[in-house]
Point group: C2
């Protein structure tokens, strides 16, 4: 291993001078700088970041936690974080929590251990109030989800799930649907709850029934199989809903698959709307009507806010920063076949 001292010796200067050229100080004579650069290249010197970080008391590492990174939704956000972080000379440390509090907590210790300067939490359940301890002491940004008690205490990046759900229901109502069902999930996400509230409120204000038989939950992991079970229950209800709003595209696809097996044509006999607008919504017919979330940009915005906090930005950054969403109409939605 080659150290700064060896470079100094090789260039015939002091370590301080080498450190200066390394850090772009302007108080170094061009000639000396050139010699030092030459020595650096000749010895193929690269600074030891453990030492530098210890001295500077920073790590230039960002911690990103998510329940998983296999979901294209999270991996797209991760891409946004990763690309911007490289540009800003930060590295990204990831932790796949599998939804486990203990795993998340031990990962967050990277902050107190000085191996990360800040953290971005994706998919944090509302119940995770323990996060408050970290939010108080370290730079933390929540992305996608939020924890009610922490809304005023840290930046949050998310779409307005309540508004999006209302817009979907309004869209379905305007198409002529009156029996509108929803597939939610067994989890503690704010997004799940907010979408349900938007669904319920818009239904109510439109004078439409909010029939408990028309609301079913998939498993916490939004799995295709659990979506199928939920859809099957929904499509067995009497009277049967004419439209289904699913809180994720996978769940929407599972509803389409069940409908088809039941001999129902989508969208003629059943309208299905998804959420997230991931890639495979346009790989098969019917192409899925869905709400697009700007995942990549949300990742970038999260990192951007986090870096502001790390750099000690003085303007208050806390609260929900809403990203724009867009209802994209495709082939899986249409007016109901018979108006009542």
């Amino acid at each position: 291993m080659v150290t700064i001292a060896q470079v100094a010796a090789h260039a015939g200067v002091s370590v301080a001078t080498v450190s200066r050229v390394l850090n772009g100080s302007d108080t170094v004579k061009p000639d000396t700088a050139k010699q030092v650069m030459h020595a650096i290249e000749e010895l193929r010197y690269t600074p030891n970041l453990s030492a530098r970080n210890l001295r500077r008391n920073e790590s230039r590492v960002i911690l990103v936690l998510a329940p998983n990174f296999s979901n294209p939704y999270y991996s797209r956000i991760l891409a946004g974080i990763g690309d911007l972080s490289r540009e800003k000379a930060y590295s990204v440390l990831i932790c796949n929590t599998s939804g486990l509090t203990e795993t998340a907590q031990s990962a967050m210790q990277m902050l107190s251990k000085h191996l990360a300067d800040g953290a971005i939490m994706l998919g944090c359940p509302q119940s995770a109030e323990w996060v408050g301890e970290y939010v108080e002491r370290y730079p933390v940004v929540l992305c996608c989800e939020y924890i009610p008690k922490l809304v005023d205490r840290c930046p949050i990046v998310s779409v307005d799930n309540y508004a999006a759900a209302r817009q979907i229901v309004r869209y379905l109502r305007d198409l002529g649907h009156r029996r509108i069902a929803m597939i939610g999930a067994e989890n503690a996400y704010a997004s799940t709850q907010n979408r349900w509230e938007g669904y319920r409120d818009e239904l109510k204000e439109s004078g439409l029934a909010c029939n408990p038989d028309w609301y079913e939950k998939a498993d916490a992991d939004y799995s295709f199989a659990s979506g199928r079970r939920a859809a099957l229950r929904l499509l067995s209800a009497t009277p049967r809903p004419t439209a289904i709003f699913a809180i994720s595209d996978i769940l929407a696809l599972s509803a389409i698959s069940v409908a088809q097996e039941l001999g129902l044509n989508v969208p003629r006999d059943l309208t299905v709307v998804g959420f997230d607008d991931v890639d495979y919504t346009t790989m098969f017919h019917p192409f899925l009507t869905s709400v697009r979330q700007p995942c990549y940009e949300m990742g970038q915005k999260s990192l951007s806010l986090l870096l502001s906090k790390i750099q000690g930005c003085c303007v208050p950054l806390s609260g929900i920063h809403h990203s724009s969403f867009e209802l994209i109409e495709r082939e899986s939605s249409a007016p109901p076949i018979q108006m009542e």
Copy 2:
């Protein structure tokens, strides 16, 4: 920030003793240890890893590079690496290279900068001979792909792509197909080349034609859109192939989508076989016949080999470690409608 010195003061012992209990030394009197533990909890002390890493000359961080992490194939491997790394008390630093050499190279510098103890490279093109410099000096494992010149110099984890391709062609031949096409990709991956060679050789040994009109390339990124273009060219050939082997599931799905638009029924009029067996192969009919790769396990095996190298394992680990694959027959393959 609370340091080991403060803990020592609070517990009325020396820093050496605190360090001892921190590192599980057995030469500490149980009573003293208890006092120290108490002080640690009281002050909520966590060790500064920059300092520890500097002193120990390690980081307990693994670097993982991939062209992207949005592809479910890579994200599944990442999950395998992540889960095992947590178990082994390592952290995972990721770099999304976007296929750019420069980005990959700068990420690999994390090794010389002492911010990572080893690296796992996913999706490395055969042309990346610069990797040799790192393989010589640091623990590196290649996963999925390999670089011919480095085969004897570092561990490689991959399925036997050549054998898999031959098995697919044999399967299609045994079904009765004689006009077998292939969709490859415009990239420098060993997997792409090996699958092509397997396809070609098995065709030849079976006495079947290896018609250049029946081999088309999608873009380097295996995009659905480029797969459609390749499939369209293939299905415009005269005579038209009765079976298509695609080197990824996405490409296979794109072929099915084009076939359907051309009024062809899969598998009646056209057989399609994919590769990788990602989740969405069973979300739509026809369910896709594909070759399963044990991605999660491949991630774990890669990390396991890497840790052996890091720990200075003396048995030679270099060479290709083949993971098993499995051809899974589903609904997209069948005998051709008319034998010739």
